[in-house]
């Protein structure tokens, strides 16, 4: 790769940087609101993984589908969702994307092609094959990209889905965000292969491992997989190596990893890396970055205000939505 930004234009780069900053600000705010007792339940933060969410979605069209994971806030924003309706969902409000019925773990925006986060590890992976088949049978130019974590690769459903997508040549991109831990289980203790993308060989499809904290590398790999899928070349398995800075969920004491390890990965911050690269290329100034950060902060503040001012679901509607 000779070009440091592949075919991304400066405008696109600014937009992608904005998305990464927005995801981080959204999640940092959500965590604060949770700690203040303003949100209940739990949440799974993807702070540190913004490069893979944004890089992957950058290679997609608005009409393409994604299926997401329990750590799916970044995917949702990167696919084009509005942060105010997301925030409202986190507050359990009627104006939220799921009318307050889904919460963080089921956040979805079908209008932007996000078919939903998922509380089940590998839960979206079998459905992705169905979405791919639907695209293929309807002769659409779409693709389906399914995000899942390293933990999902050890579910039986992963095997069934990749095998079927391979034999039916489905337009699906299997995008593994390997953040090194399935809750507390280190990937090295859960899988004997050197790279998770090696598993692609078992299905006769291409597999590629990329630095998930390098936005451009993620974008480039996804772009190739998308092009293959769109032209009838079938599925690809992408492994993006990344790291979550926060615990698995809100109950995690993080006994399974060291502070040094976390610090080491924090030094590979996907946002800082893109910023430095853009500085070096003269595409971004300190002042412009500050302006953008201020813009992002204002967007989040507005989203929180919208969420707080929104009505709760009417208990009289509790039975709605079970059946169509």
């Amino acid at each position: 790769m000779s070009e440091p930004f592949a075919d991304l234009t400066p405008e696109q780069l600014h937009d992608l940087l904005h998305q990464m900053l927005l995801i981080r600000a959204f999640e940092e705010s959500a965590e604060q609101l949770y700690l203040q007792g303003l949100m209940h339940g739990t949440m799974h933060l993807s702070i540190g993984q913004e490069g893979s969410a944004v890089g992957a979605c950058a290679a997609l069209r608005p009409t393409d589908y994604i299926l997401s994971t329990h750590r799916g806030h970044g995917h949702c924003i990167a696919k084009g969702a509005r942060v105010d309706q997301m925030m409202a969902e986190f507050f359990g409000k009627e104006t939220g994307y799921c009318r307050g019925r889904g919460g963080s773990m089921h956040i979805a925006d079908v209008t932007t092609g996000n078919l939903g986060a998922n509380g089940i590890v590998a839960g979206g992976v079998p459905m992705a094959a169905g979405v791919g088949l639907s695209i293929q049978m309807q002769r659409q130019e779409r693709v389906a990209l399914v995000f899942f974590g390293d933990g999902a690769t050890n579910e039986g459903a992963f095997h069934e889905s990749l095998n079927l997508a391979a034999v039916w040549n489905l337009p699906v991109i299997y995008f593994c965000e390997n953040n090194q831990y399935a809750m507390s289980m280190a990937i090295g203790r859960a899988s004997k292969v050197e790279k998770l993308s090696d598993r692609a060989a078992a299905y006769g499809i291409p597999g590629v491992t990329v630095d998930g904290n390098d936005l451009v590398a993620v974008y480039t790999a996804t772009q190739a997989a998308v092009a293959r899928a769109r032209s009838g070349g079938g599925p690809t398995l992408i492994e993006a190596q990344t790291y979550r800075w926060k615990g698995h969920s809100k109950s995690d004491k993080q006994r399974y990893r060291t502070k040094e390890e976390v610090k080491e990965w924090q030094e590979r911050d996907p946002i800082a890396r893109l910023v430095e690269k853009m500085f070096a290329a003269g595409l971004l100034t300190e002042a412009a970055l500050n302006r953008r950060q201020a813009q992002v902060d204002a967007e989040i503040a507005e989203a929180i205000e919208f969420a707080k001012a929104s009505p709760d679901p009417d208990p009289a509607t509790i039975l709605e939505g079970v059946y169509a």
Binding site: Y97, R101, V110, G116, M127, A129, V322, A324
Partner: protein, 329 residues
Amino acid sequence: MSRELTYAEAVREAIDLAMARDERVFLFGEDVGVYGGAFGVTDGLYQKYGPERVRDTPISEAIIAGVATGAALTGMRPIAEIQFMDFVTLSMEQLVLQAAKLRFMLGGKVEVPFVLRTPAGAGTGAAAQHSESLENWFVHVPGLKVVMPSTPADVKGLLLASIEDPNPVIFVEHKLLYRTKGVVPEGYYTTPLSQSEVKRTGCDLTIVATSLMVMRALEAATKLADEGIEVEVVDPRTLKPLDPAPIIQSVSKTGRVLIVHEAVKTGGFGGELAAVIAESEAFDYLDAPIRRLAGLDIPVPYNRELERRMVPQVDDIVTAARRLVREAR
């Protein structure tokens, strides 16, 4: 125009009509193509519609349910087949945690219109892992519909209604019903879901039965009529969402009810039916306790006689009905 068809032919005709009518409908599952399905139900459809719309899958039940869900979510109308109902155990996550809940979890913004057809039941000597009747597991899951037809005419109309329905439908066929014959109207028609039907009228006792047990209950009713006992047979047809009114009405009239199903008794649909009746105004009309006749609480045995004894037979229904008519509360 009507003519006689077997239950299996009626299923096939329904699939054929749905596929001819709606391009979004397709059929897939293990050996449904060239082979024609393990019970021959889909025979000829592959030849008529080709490999794209009649698809053989690898032996991967989780992905069959996943493909049905994902394709339904994005504009298709899949008909999935799980070869034996026992094998839905391998599909449960996608059915229960995804398909059933997606619409609700996503605030009512999606539809998941698919039909999962599967043959249930004992009586073929296939022993414990190919004879299950697991319908009540699905009755317990909000978001799924459960349909269990007993006659060729019903299976055709209910299957077409299920394919048109915008929700995931678990469509339970019975292996021993496949060869039974009955009058089936020609052409496209739907039999509405969630409508229980009185299959025979009588005034002494109500039998509420499902699937194959409806046929056995009707046979028992004929025998009992010779003894002067007039039995009313009610077939819920759709177990979820249940249409309780005809059941409650019938029990209010006869004052006695025997519930018959093939699935094992404990945790079976009969418990739900008994509760629905007991909680209704029919309770005031009961002249005897609500009785259930169901599968024994054992895995389905291989030996012919043991297998027969595990599942209610016509004579068992006759005996239970006779006893109940003599019983007083």
